[in-house]
Amino acid sequence: MATAQNPSTPTMRPGVQPLRAGQGTTFLWRKLHSLLGIVPIGAFLLEHLLSNFEALKGPAAYGAQVKFLNSLPLVRVLEWVFIFLPILYHGLYGVYIWLRGKSNIVYYPWAGNWMYTAQRYTGLIAILYIGQHVLRQRFMGISLPENPGAAFAKVQHELANPWMLAVYIIAMIAICWHFAYGIWLFAAKWGITPGTTARKRFGYICAAFGLALAIMGLASIWAFVGPTYRNAPDIAPLSYLAAPVHAGSHTV
């Protein structure tokens, strides 16, 4: 990219190169990175946290939710096109963005600069966490698409390890932060909130939204480690084919 030739600058100058007016493709890749963070990744995160919330209703309800999601048409295609590939691109390009930035919070410890840095660290936590999470929960151990009833016990066994529980709690907070600030950044950088007051107000909305998501996520974690559903059955009996179970219609 830095080697792109601009007719107005035939020789390489020392220092930062001038704008390569109208040349190159970083605009497209950067905007794609930005958009994917909202849809589908952000939308999927919402779905995932809402689905996790079913765990508060017990192993059967949670298993039914897993079963429902796996009964979606073309679910394996949806999984790769709308979840795995976008997250992989967003994560890898995000690291690339990070490596090209030069943080300077030591000299300029301002709020926006802290957020800029936090967005990079939370992103790194997210991609490391998601890597192991997908590997261990989706591709290792008992296969949940075939055995949705085993979902609750599988997660419960994972979280029985206090180190893994800490990893899940840290990742939950980091990812909710990353998403909430990501929405704010998206609005600012796509020109949706071009005014200082609008950005400030939207900042409060994003903060409240992120906090709500994090609380929901932590509550779901509590459902697996708390006293209510201790020693859940390895395979919870599911009496429903597709629709998620609602509270009160089912007892464990």
Binding site: A4, L19, K31, R100, G112, W190, I192
Partner: protein
């Protein structure tokens, strides 16, 4: 307050390739003293704190009233204008370094011509050259004047670029100043004839997309330009321009 001493530590470098050395200077405090006037006093009597004779410090400055944009440098680590840096408001010893993101010329003088190249790359001007008198231009409405005036205050000091984590040799980011000038000239009734060209230019590598919205630019700007607002507005317009270009083929 008489006979109070002002301590300065200045990063010196005789040539771009020479090793950097720090020199200390003790000056007699004067009321209203600022960093530029301190540098002038050193030029008048270039002797370090330990009594060694040295060369006068090379630095850019001109207007001495924060309007020309020449004397930007790092004072106690932060980029700012030396002329408006009042000595009595700064912690001592005052550590003075050149801007870090631009090729060094000598001592505190750096080559900031990349900003001029960037302004040329986005055609940051109102095109009125012709072979005949074009007559009076269109009227500028007060609403547009309100938008344009703050943007026209840019003094090209490059502080916004210096403090930007994205402005570096890896990204070749254009920086907030140039983006704000695109906003200004695109809002001018005659200047907007080049609007599409400016927006397409800013979608190039190093363009507006490289902004990470750390917002240091707007914090540091000595002229309080609404830089983040301009980046937000211009980002949207660049995106819409690219979408139009794509759909129109």
């Amino acid at each position: 307050m008489a006979n109070k001493t002002v301590q300065l530590e200045i990063k010196r470098q005789a040539t771009p390739d020479a090793p950097a050395v720090w020199e200390k200077f003790d000056l007699e405090w004067r009321p209203g003293m600022n960093v530029t006037s301190a540098l002038m006093e050193i030029a008048a009597n270039p002797v370090t704190a330990d009594g060694h004779s040295t060369t006068p410090v090379t630095y850019d400055s001109n207007c001495l009233e924060e309007i020309c944009g020449s004397c930007a440098m790092r004072i106690n680590g932060k980029a700012r204008m030396a002329c408006s840096a009042l000595v009595e408001n700064i912690e001592q010893p005052i550590r003075i370094e050149p801007l870090s993101k631009f090729p060094l010329v000598r001592d505190l003088q750096v080559d900031r011509s990349v900003l001029f190249e960037n302004l040329k790359a986005v055609k940051a001007w109102v095109p009125i050259d012709g072979t005949y008198d074009l007559g009076a231009g269109p009227r500028l409405f007060p609403q547009d004047q309100e938008v344009n005036y703050p943007l026209s205050n840019c003094i090209s000091c490059t502080c916004c670029m210096e403090v930007c984590p994205q402005f570096n040799e890896e990204t070749g980011f254009v920086g907030a100043a140039t983006i704000a000038q695109v906003r200004l000239f695109n809002n001018h009734p005659t200047g907007k004839v080049l609007k599409e060209e400016r927006l397409r230019a800013l979608a190039g590598d190093g363009g507006v997309q490289e902004c990470g919205y750390a917002q240091n630019c707007v914090e540091v700007c000595p002229k309080q330009l609404p830089l983040t607002n301009a980046i937000s507005d211009v980002s949207r317009e660049v995106l819409l321009q690219k979408a139009k270009d794509f759909l129109r083929g």
